[in-house]
Symmetry: C2
Subunit: 184 residues, 2 copies
């Protein structure tokens, strides 16, 4: 089994700062801004941080590339990240600009499918990374913590799915309305 502190291949271009135990205070301070750990105790944050790796990204560095494989998610500890997706004319569209406390990449960590969007550090940025292998280790070695992490992930995805589904239904309604108006 890979050592916890071994860096992710996909992040080899970033500066690996080791595992996140030395950052657990900083992670804990993000609780009010971070859904993933909002219900975590100090001890649980410390335990979780053993299974995460920390990386520094320079301004302009791509942390996640749309379409790539990849089996990790990240929690932004410091800095700002732009989330960009190519539209059908291959023009980059900014989907979001996020900062400390935001998490990115959960979907691919879970399902291993290609990344939905690209994430670029727009200022010097520090991230704590959790990969699928370490998530599996948490589940086996610390089942209650594992269940808690998974429960929070389910909650986050569920809320995002609600938001996205509502926007989709709204857009489809607008299309129907426009079609009806055109027909009049």
């Amino acid at each position: 089994m890979r050592s916890m502190a071994e860096p992710q291949d996909h992040l080899a271009h970033l500066d690996h700062r080791g595992d996140a135990t030395g950052f657990s205070g900083q992670i804990h301070a993000l609780i009010p801004k971070c859904k993933l750990i909002e219900n975590f105790s100090t001890a649980e944050v410390r335990l979780l941080s053993h299974f995460m790796n920390v990386y520094n990204a320079e301004r302009g560095a791509e942390i996640i590339h749309e379409g790539d494989g990849g089996d990790f998610m990240m929690l932004i500890l410091e800095g700002k990240v732009e989330v960009v997706k190519q539209d059908r004319w291959n023009r980059p569209q900014v989907l979001a600009l996020v900062d400390a406390g935001s998490t990115l990449g959960e979907m691919s960590m879970i399902d291993g499918e290609p990344r939905f969007a690209t994430c670029i550090a727009v200022e010097p940025t520090t991230v704590a990374v959790l990969d699928r292998e370490n998530l599996a280790r948490i589940i086996v070695e610390q089942p209650m913590l594992g269940a808690k992490v998974l429960m929070e992930l389910v909650l986050m995805l569920s809320q995002r799915l609600r938001t996205t589904s509502s926007r989709l239904v709204q857009l489809l309604d607008e299309q129907t309305e426009r079609a009806a108006n055109t027909a009049l």
Copy 2:
């Protein structure tokens, strides 16, 4: 703590058949059609069924009502269910027609938010129900099974979020294109 076999208040209008242990063979047979349990062993299905309740719904019975609270998900064992959502003019729009092996209501089980859509049995239907309290019991009493259920839920939501997000991005692209054409 409520007994496992005690029926859900929101399902009091349906015929409660007791807990799902007597149905674990039927549940197991649905593995090829059901993402939630696709990686479950026979023993895991049997264990899970202890924490589920089975209900019969007559043709036309509403099993889930859009906008209601509700803290359970269900697995369709037999029958057919129509998923309907009101559009902004309060007209019911059929979102999906699903049958044995499909699961419904995961989002509200997890986050307790109002139901996104209404589910109506369009023929005599049997469902196995898992509620949040029993999910919590699984996590405490059978942590590895709990982690497995949660992992499958995360996978399902993640895949649905991808599909929904892609459709949303596509629709937004089409709008942009239409706006550009109109401007020409």
